[in-house]
Amino acid sequence: MSKKTYIQAITDALRLELGSDEKTLVFGEDVGKNGGVFRATDGLQAEFGEDRVFDTPLAESGIGGLSIGLALEGFRPIPEIQFLGFIFETLDSIAGQMSRERFRTGGTRHMPITIRSPYGGGTHTPEMHADSLEGYLAQIPGLRVVTPSNPYDAKGLLISSIRNNDPVFFLENLKLYRSMKADIPDEAYTVPLDKAAVVREGTDISLIAYSAQVNQSLKVAEKLEKEGISVEVVDLRTLSPLDEETILKSVQKTGRAVAIQEAQRQAGIAANVASLIAEKGALYLSAPVGRVSAPDTVYPFGLAEDDWLPAEDEIEAKTREILNY
């Protein structure tokens, strides 16, 4: 066991997988000598050489296409898209190509690609750096969208993603990179894909969240506990496809739910969670499903982002509203 930050846990996972599978490749903009703009790939080129860990020209679509071609030649690519806001440049590689190849070829070809990308607000980045775009990605058949909320999951989910034979979009929360530390095992371990986790058990209401919002939800749960309110917190971990069983089981137990996302409200993950509960768990409910999200505007970068991002008190207020409905 060692104390690791969220980003160190990610580096750890990359190092272990580069070491154990010679077909893995880490590449992207500035990931080589510089170790990535956040140092997620720090030291990896020195350890594994330029053949395995390398810089690419500055072109996201090229990085996506490169991954597909390398996968066809038998490699297990782990490309980095420097910021999630840059994926629009490579959406064809993701949505139009790699996620379709297994289907397109009748299962005769596969794309074991894990795209890593940082996202999430709260660090005052320039525009198109912190946007939560997981809702776009979640509609793509054949693509898993995975995001950890803590260092343990960051390492275990990333290792599971890399070892998976289908493409995974692995979202790393910018704000959590260095703000979270935890004791995690030094050796390789996996955290299952397609499985949500009940990170706090409760009986009165379910807060269903992911990434940084899990930590905000846990704080709300702790606060409400002092008033004798028992809050269950579900960490989705895999955003697409959803772990329906865990969500429905939790709602069956508590009878009340709030779905939480950092992204703007329209057509997002929280909407998927709410519609799942409406479709398959309506009879468990004592109140409508609540939703917490940012407003439906473009992400206001820089100084205004704190007003835009869903805050802990918004989660608390919505939780109380649904509890008292």
């Binding site: 679509s61 490169l66 030649e73 038998g74 490699f75 590689s93 070829t105 005769t108 496809p241 959803l242």
Partner: protein
């Protein structure tokens, strides 16, 4: 002050751009041998095999055209006119090379190992048409213009990293495709990694209805490779031997570890963009088309080999009949393909089925067993 010369003469620079490209020719439109030293490298039997490749592609086109009209094929992009460009380049490659085709490159795919019936199944939208055996080194035809170029760069880098000797990735796009960002990104990545890729641009004059001159201010498409730091060449795309020799040289150069190459073939799409309603009369004139029709790639090789006494009308008729019979068999084989099932589609979305897929498989199994 008005007479002062600017520090840079941009007009003069512009006028020199792309000027050093001269299309390579071996046998011209009148069947006149311009490069006897190339022609003499091949026996008449080999040249007959080359001509047969073009006749095969023309016959495949004619049958595909007819089958599409009868509703027996689905999507079809006519290849007539591009036989020298397609067969000339593809025949210079090895079966172990990796082909990244677009939708007009079905003849190359078939020559690379795809059974004709599978090509027909692809046209109909049957997934069996895309189930390639391991030893068919190709991807299904790309629909998104340019996407195959960035992927080809990745395949080429993979070949280099695997240390595979004498193997290249090769990819096709059209004149319109050279306007796409991925076209440049693919060449630039392959160049930056010095990866063994051969990029072939079939300049057939039109991107559906938009003529080549409206795609770019560049004098040639070949010169677009210069910006990526990779060598390029223009070749008479109606001249089989010229395309073949140029592609062979490009392949050897790339396979030797020198990095990628780009080839622009000057050809013409005799027919419409696809058989889904495109009418070239809306954007082309007879006056423009006729010289290209006269420049049919089959004419000059047929004439040359007939003059040599190596080919005859009877031989051609016999060969065409044989190709037609093969195509007829392929249609029958395609007709025998089983109906596609939604459960099979669902099973091929992921390797390990998540809950939503499992549930939907169960739902469709119930429907399909009725």
């Amino acid at each position: 002050m008005d007479n002062e010369k600017p520090i840079v003469d941009f007009s003069a620079i512009r006028d020199t751009l792309g000027k050093n490209y001269e299309p390579v020719q071996v046998i011209d439109g009148q069947a006149k041998v311009l490069k006897p030293e190339i022609v003499s490298k091949y026996s008449n039997d080999q040249l007959v095999d080359f001509l047969k490749l073009m006749i095969w592609e023309r016959t495949l086109h004619q049958r595909s055209n007819a089958l599409t009209r009868q509703g027996r094929l689905g999507f079809y992009a006519p290849t007539e006119g591009q036989e020298a460009s397609e067969m000339g380049s593809n025949s210079a490659m090895k079966r172990t090379d990796v082909l990244m085709p677009a939708y007009r490159d079905i003849p190359q795919l078939i020559q690379h190992g795809l059974p004709v019936y599978k090509a027909f199944l692809w046209s109909r939208g049957h997934v069996l048409g895309n189930e390639y055996p391991e030893d068919l080194h190709a991807m299904p035809p790309q629909i998104i213009i340019g996407a195959q170029y960035v992927q080809a760069a990745g395949v080429a880098l993979g070949i280099k990293k695997n240390g595979t000797e004498d193997k290249v990735a090769y990819s096709y796009t059209g004149d319109g495709g050279t306007s796409q960002g991925d076209f440049y990104e693919g060449m630039n990545f392959a160049g930056a990694f010095q990866a063994p890729a051969v990029f072939i641009v079939q300049n057939n004059g039109y991107a559906i209805s938009v003529p080549r001159r409206k795609q770019t201010a560049a004098r040639t498409l070949a010169q677009k490779a210069v910006a990526a730091g990779i060598p390029s060449v223009q070749v008479d795309g109606m001249d089989f031997l010229a395309v073949h020799e140029v592609t062979k040289a490009a392949r050897e150069y790339a396979a030797a570890g020198n990095g990628p190459v780009m080839i622009e073939t000057l050809t013409y799409r005799f027919g419409p963009h696809t058989n889904a309603g495109d009418d070239p009369k809306r954007y082309r004139t007879k006056e423009e088309e006729q010289p290209w029709f006269d420049n049919d790639p089959l004419i000059r090789y047929r004439k040359y080999l007939t003059d040599q006494g190596a080919w005859s009308e009877d031989q051609e008729n016999e060969y065409v009949e044989q190709v037609k019979a093969d195509i007829k068999d392929a249609v029958k084989q395609a007709d025998d393909a089983p109906k596609q099932k939604m459960t099979e589609f669902l099973e091929n979305v992921f390797e390990e089925q998540p809950q939503n897929i499992q549930q939907q498989i169960t739902e469709f199994q119930a429907k399909e067993s009725k």
